[in-house]
């Protein structure tokens, strides 16, 4: 991931980052290095309404707009995409449905499989075949394509995905189909796999290109509507953490599926880097789920994501999601254990304290424990119903033979243990020790749980950004423009020479630069970076390493081997230097660095935080019920030191400091909490 400080020659511009969440639409305006933020309720029926209203309220008329969009995600998860057809090699039409043949839940007799986005009657096989060397062993005939066109016309397909076997080694047949379909009377939205994801593994590739086709129309229409009022400069956040022009996002919307969460990680990483903490674990706790991501000095990507049961192979920030959030429901199961989630009260009816639901949630437990203040929630927009929660908590407590307070603390502990498990899996399971990282919580609920969670995991420090509630909008605004390209080559031994690799990369760069120039982006500011996906011969897990630079003199095979062995040792704990390796994919990243807000560090002032003291309240911790001071976050100034027990309150977020935790506000406005 890019993290280039703004260079001197970048022109000062006005950039507006827009993040649309389930509850709020956040707008971050970045101008002359200064950041201002605006927050208003989302309009889920038509997100653009909230966006345009919000932009109007900020008073900004002309700017570069960058948008973290959930439109593609929602179309996918709610099944509201186009009527999509899939064209495959004959005999392999059902690969999309069979998938990897495994079931998601071992012991659930009632389990469902996510329905194939291109249903059976819309999957068409064509006689053609390319083998594993890229040689065509069965030609695709124009007659076959004509027959296909007839069937497509009859089928009423609005979008067509094409994914032939080994098309990443020979694109001819897919391109023939694309060119022919474009000449149809009413051409559908067309997406070919050799363009969207030219990589091996036919199911994952087909799934990716089908998702792309499925959400394509919805996304183009939506972006068309926004481009009118916001102008042609509109960019969209991609799941990889870089932004891209709206036009390219319309062509490859599958790259924007995790747009919003990606913005959060970019914002968190940026805030932590600025404060001097490059190794972080992000904790984005929302209503129904929590996203965690490990950034060891850089934001990490994965090409093996699964969204709603659909594998997606384009690069995404490596985010692990666990079904535990503020709205997760607590109950006692048949064996007498207290369980929390994955069922969620969602936005409707919402936690019991919102006044509608009858089921206790994590948010209700926080309210009961005094960690959320009923009259200060969302700046007082909603008053929380504590009485309703008390009754429910009493009956839950009775079920487990405990006091209500213990039950509420228990809900907290259980939900923390789920988040702990998620963090263990992204750190320890991948060879990283969480005790060497800083936890960066954001989202509405993250800062409420962060210190206790850090304590459990032995994480020594929690960095709460100045505005944890709008971090995604900030991340979206500062994201560089990034375009990713890849190609499976499968080279080893004698085939692996620099001439061949350079030639392949050169071809990819040509295509990339042409595409970016076509978007009106200047090529001279562009950075290109080359990577290789390498594995032991015949194995099925690849590791991404840097492509060795041109001026190294030693044997290419050896350099690649050495970096691979190093990466393997880190990730898997061992490396056999005698085993041969092979290059699976070439990856190219094109990067146009964007301005970052040049926040002037504040001068460290007095430690006494009493200027921000707004009262006190009884808060329950593991140690018992303690009268704790309340601080207004916006009034804390650099150098102010707060010590737990305490609550730090802001409009959309509360930070809980348990006894024994405390720390200063740093020169960038972050709260740096450590065990004292």
């Amino acid at each position: 991931m890019p993290n280039n400080p703004a260079s001197d020659n970048t022109v000062q511009r006005r950039v507006v980052g827009i993040d649309v969440g389930g509850t709020f639409t956040d707008i971050a305006v970045l101008e002359d290095g200064k950041l201002t933020v605006h927050k208003l309720p989302s309009t889920p029926d038509d997100p653009s309404r909230g966006i345009l209203q919000g932009v109007k309220e900020t008073g900004v008329t002309s700017a570069e707009f960058v948008h973290g969009s959930t439109v593609a995600t929602n179309a996918l998860l709610e099944g509201k995409g186009a009527r999509t057809a899939l064209v495959t090699t004959m005999g392999f039409e059902d690969v999309l449905e069979i998938g990897r043949q495994a079931r998601a839940e071992l012991y659930n007799l009632e389990m469902d499989r996510a329905p194939a986005l291109a249903p059976w009657e819309l999957r068409f096989g064509l006689p053609e075949r390319v083998d594993h060397t890229g040689t065509i062993i069965e030609d695709l005939t124009p007659e076959a394509i004509q027959t296909l066109i007839g069937m497509l016309e009859e089928s009423g397909a609005e979008a067509v995905a094409v994914s032939f076997l080994f098309s990443f080694l020979n694109t001819a047949h897919e391109e023939m189909v694309r060119d022919a379909l474009q000449k149809m009377k009413n051409p559908p939205y067309i997406s070919i796999s050799s363009r969207v994801l030219p990589e091996f593994r036919e199911y994952e590739r087909a799934s990716t290109v089908v998702v792309n086709a499925y959400v394509g129309k919805v996304m183009s229409r939506y972006l068309g509507e926004l481009e009118g009022p916001l102008g042609k400069g509109l960019r969209i956040m991609q799941s990889s953490g870089g932004s891209i022009t709206a036009r390219l996002a319309s062509e490859e919307p599958v790259r924007t599926i995790l747009s919003g969460p990606a913005g959060g990680v970019v914002g968190a990483f940026y805030s932590a880097m600025q404060a001097g903490y490059p190794d972080i674990i992000t904790l984005d706790m929302g209503g129904t789920s929590t996203d965690v991501s490990l950034c060891p000095g850089q934001i990490k990507e994965t090409t093996a994501s699964n969204i709603g049961g659909y594998p997606i192979g384009v690069p995404m920030i490596d985010i692990h999601t666990v079904g535990a959030g503020g709205g997760s429901i607590a109950r006692v199961d048949t064996g007498g254990a207290l369980v929390v989630g994955p069922e969620s009260a969602g936005a409707d009816p919402g936690p019991a304290c919102y006044g509608n639901g009858d089921q206790l949630t994590v948010t209700d437990a926080n309210l009961f424990l005094g960690r959320l203040l009923p009259d200060r929630f969302l700046g007082g927009r909603i008053t929380l119903d504590r009485e309703r929660v008390e009754g429910l908590m009493d009956s839950l407590a009775a079920q487990i033979n405990a006091q209500a307070q213990q039950a509420a603390l228990g809900i907290n502990r259980v939900v923390n243990s789920k988040m702990e498990r998620a963090i263990r899996s992204i750190s320890l399971e991948r060879g990283y020790d969480p005790r060497l990282f800083t936890l960066v919580p954001f989202g509405g609920a993250g800062p409420m749980h962060a210190c206790e969670l850090a304590q459990e995991l032995g994480i020594p420090r929690v960095l709460v950004p100045a505005r944890p509630g709008i971090l995604s909008a900030l991340g979206v605004a500062i994201a560089d423009i990034v375009k990713d390209y890849s190609r499976t080559v499968m080279l080893r031994g004698a085939d692996l020479d620099r001439g061949r690799l350079d030639e392949e990369f050169h071809g990819m760069e040509g295509q990339a630069k042409e595409e970016m120039t076509g978007e009106g982006l200047s090529v001279d500011k562009m950075l290109t970076r080359r990577f290789l996906d390498v594995r032991y011969v015949g194995q099925s897990f690849e590791l991404t390493i840097d492509y060795p630079s041109r001026n190294t003199k030693s044997d290419l095979n050896k350099i690649i081997g050495d970096s691979f062995y190093k990466a393997h040792l880190r990730r898997f704990g061992y490396a056999d230097k005698k085993e041969p390796v092979e290059i699976v994919n070439l990856r190219l990243k094109l990067d146009v660095p964007m301005d970052k807000p040049q926040t002037v560090p504040q001068i460290i002032g007095p430690a006494d935080p009493s200027g921000a003291l707004i009262g006190e309240a009884e808060v329950v911790f593991q140690e018992g019920s303690i009268i704790s001071p309340l601080y207004q976050r916006e009034q804390l100034t650099c150098g102010n030191r707060v010590s737990g027990p305490a609550l730090v309150i802001q409009m959309d977020c509360t930070t809980v400091l348990p006894p024994g935790w405390g720390g200063p506000v740093d020169p960038f406005g972050n709260l740096l909490l450590e065990p004292e």
Binding site: G91, I98, L109, V332, D333, T334, V339, M490, G538
Partner: protein
Amino acid sequence: MPVDPISLEVFKNMFESVAEEMGVALQRTAYSPNIKERRDFSCAIFDPQGNMVAQAAHQPVHLGAMPASVEAALQEFPNALNAGDIVILNDPYLGGTHLPDITMVAPVYANHNGTKTLAGFVANRGHHADVGGMTPGSLPLSTELYQEGTIIPPIKLARRGRMNNEIIQLICRNSRTPDERKGDLAAQTAAIRVGELRMREVTERYGMSDTLEHMAALLDYTERVTRRAISKIPDGRYEVLDYMDDDGLTQELVPIAVAITVTGDEMSIDFTGTSPQRPGCINAPVSVTTSACLYVIRCLLDENAPANQGCLRPLHINAPRGSLVNPEPQRGVAAGNVETSQRITDVLFAALAQALPNVIPAASQGTMNNMIIGGHDPVRNKPFVYYETIAGGMGARPDKDGISGIHTHMTNTMNTPVEAMEFAFPIRLKRYAIRRGSGGDGKYKGGDGVIRDVEFLAPARVTLMSERRKLPPPGYHGGHHGETGENVMLKGGYEEIRLAGKELVDVEAGDVISVRTPGAGGWGAPEDEQSS
């Protein structure tokens, strides 16, 4: 910390995450596609008595069989398992299932009041693609265990942290693919070490007493959940008789009978009436039979309940000695784990369907469709062994259709991508499709099987080990049965030759083997579909 409903959930999450972390370590460091790509392995955590406390959600067929491995290690080395030791085994009659499944067990010692105390065990099991024996893949149509490969009784692979690499050498020398074996065994060892480390961290964090108390409490917890589930089943005796197609040597049907008796919150499962052990290799060691029982019970519990041995406490299993489901030593067992286990599951569900008609689905494909290919790759100039299991139909449910082309019940291994296979082996896939219409009709339809057509680009020896080629998966409550599976060879790509369910066949370049897997049973009479 005393045990309470809250700490119970916290410890459950922790033990499961240790088992999962072992699994990740094993999968990531393993060498063979079978473990890496198909995930044919399991990892579990045990208390000091050898009771399984948590298993990561890996392969159900290993569920009841993992505890048998720990028990065998404990019996072989009473009071002689030291910190740093690893016991390795695959003997189906001493803690194993079938020979390709190699298990490692290690004690975990941690500091308790200044002395090293046994905190429990960690174990993992991986399916190795070849451990020798009469045919490539070590799942032969055998008549005795000795033909199936290298037998490893419980022996120490490591003593106090020092590996005995000679054992590895011996195993590798007996395999057709020694490099793979070496890599996979190293991965299993690495996963054991990760498990030990994490378990020690748990005891350091919470103290030995609390850790042990919570292990016991989790077993009690699962027992309570299981008793609760059983008590919801109407009391009564539910009997079922079904058949395996044959044992691969003769053509006779092989009966499997079960009588489930539910009394309050206890259940007895009696296999009396099941066929005596067979000369062919379909005998299921009692650990496999136990796995099937555990799996079926686990399916009746809330998804949140840990898969541990507490499940077994309310069960009384009677698997007569010398029968197909509890054979005497040295009988062939290659297919017991992969095929007979599926039929045992079928009869258990069929019996429960009488008691719980609105809960239990109709029969699924009832086989794993094992295909094992071995030969010499002329292009890459090296020997190769490839093993896969092929999905089929899932039985229709009381409220919805079954799923097509999916692995059911005792297995959940993944397929190998077509492109990955063709990059690696002298094989070309001609077709991989859903076998439309093979699922049984009904108010709700059974899932369809699949068709997998494999063309060989070089001569090879192929073992097929499959079931439901004679008797189809039944439908329930008026639902129609699914189609039986078919194995066909297309000689030279055209000339159709029918193959048996269990068959060893030598193929030439240009030949195609087409495996057509069974569809599943439907649920409810088809005419009710309109009214639903």
